[in-house]
């Protein structure tokens, strides 16, 4: 366990702390400086400028869910491509690794094709 590893992340942590501190500080200063004179009109949601009607709330459609689901699957896929790309040129990998990735992506491609065929990829 070298110092370098922890040091690298200590720097990330430093930036995180500085970031949170400055954003939080700005919002706090804003709270101190700004006037607060609420009226019922000011407290209504703006929507599109017309007085809001009803609950202003409804369900979303399933297609957003489907695209996020696709995102999860392809994110997992991409995550496996990263280590593959880094070791690919190293001695002892090469051809076999290439064939393995062809098989892997072949299965994923079947999934894309199925979705394409069932017109899930089309935003309708």
């Amino acid at each position: 366990m070298s110092l370098g590893y922890l040091g690298s992340y200590a720097a990330v942590l430093a930036l995180f702390v500085v970031g949170v501190a400055i954003v939080a500080g700005a919002l706090f200063a804003n709270r101190m400086l700004r006037p607060t004179r609420p009226t019922p009109d000011k407290l209504a949601t703006y929507e599109c400028g017309v007085d809001p009607v009803g609950e202003g709330w409804a369900q979303s459609q399933v297609r957003y869910y489907v695209f996020t689901y696709l995102y999860v699957i392809f994110a997992v896929d991409a995550v496996f491509l990263f280590p593959w790309a880094t070791v690919f040129a190293a001695p002892g990998f090469g051809m076999t690794t290439l064939v393995e990735m062809f098989v892997f992506l072949g299965f994923i491609a079947l999934g894309i094709l199925y979705g394409w065929r069932k017109r899930v990829l089309t935003w309708a």
């Binding site: 366990m1 070298s2 370098g4 590893y5 922890l6 992340y9 609950e55 709330w57 409804a58 369900q59 979303s60 459609q61 399933v62 297609r63 957003y64 869910y65 489907v66 996020t68 689901y69 696709l70 995102y71 999860v72 699957i73 994110a75 997992v76 896929d77 995550v79 496996f80 990263f82 280590p83 593959w84 790309a85 880094t86 070791v87 190293a90 002892g92 990998f93 076999t96 690794t97 393995e100 098989v103 892997f104 992506l105 072949g106 299965f107 994923i108 079947l110 999934g111 199925y114 979705g115 069932k118 899930v120």
Partner: protein, 178 residues
């Protein structure tokens, strides 16, 4: 394997690890006890984040950032979209508790007990010193593509199955036979 250092003098790293573990467990408890569905998703982010922190302390940096990318970024957003798909309750919901609370607690405790016993029994006093760079993309890649090729290929089939399942579920016009 080298000799294990004493448990009684924890290093700074171990303390950070324990603290992160405590945060993860605490946030997980809040996930199941909060009365607002969306806040449960928020606490889940804290749990996953603390878990990623644990991985980082264990020098598994690739896994840690993948945890952030996939779980915090993708899975929780998926859960949020799932919540928005449903009745989408605003504010506190009184009916979040089902009568299964004691049973669920029992199952959770039993699972935890099994896992802890297996880990303790499997490793006992084994001690592996942490090595910086041991969790980098290159190391993960060489171990996946040298030793774990079959699970890797099986994963692609799993992903395919998940993909097709999601497509079939989301399309009401794809019917089963009969």
């Amino acid at each position: 394997m080298t000799d294990a250092p004493s448990y009684l003098s924890p290093t700074g790293q171990e303390i950070v690890f324990l603290l992160l573990g405590a945060v993860a467990v605490g946030a997980a408890l809040l996930v199941v006890t909060t009365r607002q569905l969306v806040h449960a998703a928020l606490w889940l982010v804290v749990t996953f984040g603390a878990l990623a922190g644990c991985y980082l302390v264990l020098t598994a940096e690739f896994v840690a950032w993948v945890q952030v990318l996939i779980y915090v970024g993708a899975i929780v957003v998926l859960l949020l979209f799932g919540i928005m798909l449903t009745r989408a309750p605003i504010g506190r919901s009184a009916d979040l508790d089902s009568g299964n609370r004691p049973a669920a607690a029992l199952v959770a405790l039993a699972t935890a007990a099994v896992l802890v016993t297996v880990v303790v029994d499997g490793f006992r006093t084994a001690y592996a010193p942490l090595r910086a760079g041991g969790g980098s993309a290159g190391e993960i890649g060489s171990s996946v593509f040298r030793n774990w090729v079959l699970p890797f290929e099986a994963l692609s089939v799993l992903l395919l199955a998940a993909l097709i399942g999601a497509i079939v579920l989301s399309r009401t016009d794809i019917r089963g036979r009969g």
